[in-house]
């Protein structure tokens, strides 16, 4: 592995770390990560992965940048208003770090593209803002055997969990919640508020988990659901286990394919 002078300088603070070093940096460079949703969670995740020198960063989002997004979606700025989020994101990421190969998908993450997309990457970050998509990310990743980071944030609360389908100690989202909550029960961000800085914390944790997965550093949040109460700034870790009756990842699985009906 040969680092140019510029790369040695750029990634020096990664390389200093015992758990990263030159070999870890090479693993980051070879890493391919897909971020579903270039919004509140996806923004800090994308920025910190790009800053760290991720090799390939995939971004899928069908939306255009709106004014209310700028309160938290720090990938975008006033110049981006009205622009496709993927285009705005690509520009910002390349400006931060031109080493990163950005692959953008200006479309919805759906049952039609989910499997083929996740298969092209090493790790997936769920940066979506609704449960239907979160469950789709979960199901596609488990079916494809891809590790991913689940996170959700609303009001002053957030949660984050890492799922590695190859680990027996790693429950998937359906182990915790067999079905998405009904639409009526869970408002998405457009009906409830959230402070940008909280999405910043959670998206950053998702980037950290990604880098730890790629480099083997530390311990992942597999089997550990981290919850945040931003008002008190308390962090709690809840131990969670694979559910032997999980409809997706247990021996009793009922879900073996992606079906639109599962995500309404």
């Amino acid at each position: 592995m040969d680092l140019s002078e510029e790369k040695i300088e750029r990634y020096s603070r990664n390389i200093v770390l015992a758990e990263i070093g030159p070999q870890g940096q090479e693993r980051i460079r070879r890493g391919k990560v897909l971020i579903v949703g270039a919004g509140g969670l996806g923004s800090p995740a994308a920025l910190y992965l790009a800053a760290a020198g991720i090799g390939v960063l995939g971004l899928i989002d069908s939306d255009k940048v709106e004014l209310s997004n700028l309160q938290r979606q720090i990938l975008h700025d006033t110049r981006s208003l009205g622009e496709a989020k993927t285009r705005s994101a690509g520009r910002r990421i390349r400006a931060l770090n031109p080493d990163v190969a950005v692959r953008t998908f200006q479309e919805r993450f759906s049952v039609d593209n989910a499997l083929s997309l996740v298969r092209e990457f090493d790790f997936v970050i769920d940066g979506s803002d609704n449960f239907a998509t979160k469950f789709l990310v979960n199901d596609a990743c488990v079916l494809a055997g891809k590790p991913f980071s689940h996170a959700g944030v609303l009001g002053f609360r957030g949660q984050v969990l890492t799922v590695d389908p190859s680990r027996a100690d790693s429950p998937c989202l359906r182990c915790l919640l067999p079905e998405p909550p009904g639409r009526a029960e869970t408002p998405d961000c457009s009906r409830s508020g959230v402070l940008g800085a909280l999405t910043g914390i959670l998206g950053s944790i998702q980037a950290l988990e990604t880098l730890k997965f790629l480099t083997g550093a530390g311990e992942l949040l597999c089997g550990r659901l981290l919850t945040v109460d931003a008002l008190k700034l308390t962090f709690r870790t809840v131990a969670v286990r694979r559910n032997p009756d999980c409809p997706l990842c247990s021996g009793k699985k009922r879900i073996t394919a992606l079906d639109q009906a599962l995500y309404v």
């Binding site: 040695i8 020096s12 200093v16 015992a18 070093g21 030159p22």
Partner: protein, 75 residues
């Protein structure tokens, strides 16, 4: 004949001197030693502490004409 490698990091401040030593060591085989020239005793001691913290062995520190030299052995 033992593996002998040398890098001159006079004029390279912390943490870049430490980073360059790690990169140079990464390319060497186990048991190889690397001689490093640094800015002075202070730099040598600081870098030695960092290297030993991360599991490398520094077998010699000596001052020579205003600069300092350390010998790092790769595990």
């Amino acid at each position: 004949m033992p593996d002998k490698h040398f890098i001159d990091l006079v004029g390279t401040a912390c943490p870049m001197n430490f980073v360059r030593i790690k990169i140079a060591l990464d390319k060497l085989g186990p048991g190889a030693s690397l001689e490093v020239r640094l800015d002075g005793r202070g730099a040598a001691e600081e870098v030695t502490r960092s290297l030993e913290d991360q599991g490398y062995r520094v077998s010699r520190i000596r001052e020579e004409m205003g600069a300092a030299e350390i010998t790092v052995v790769k595990y």
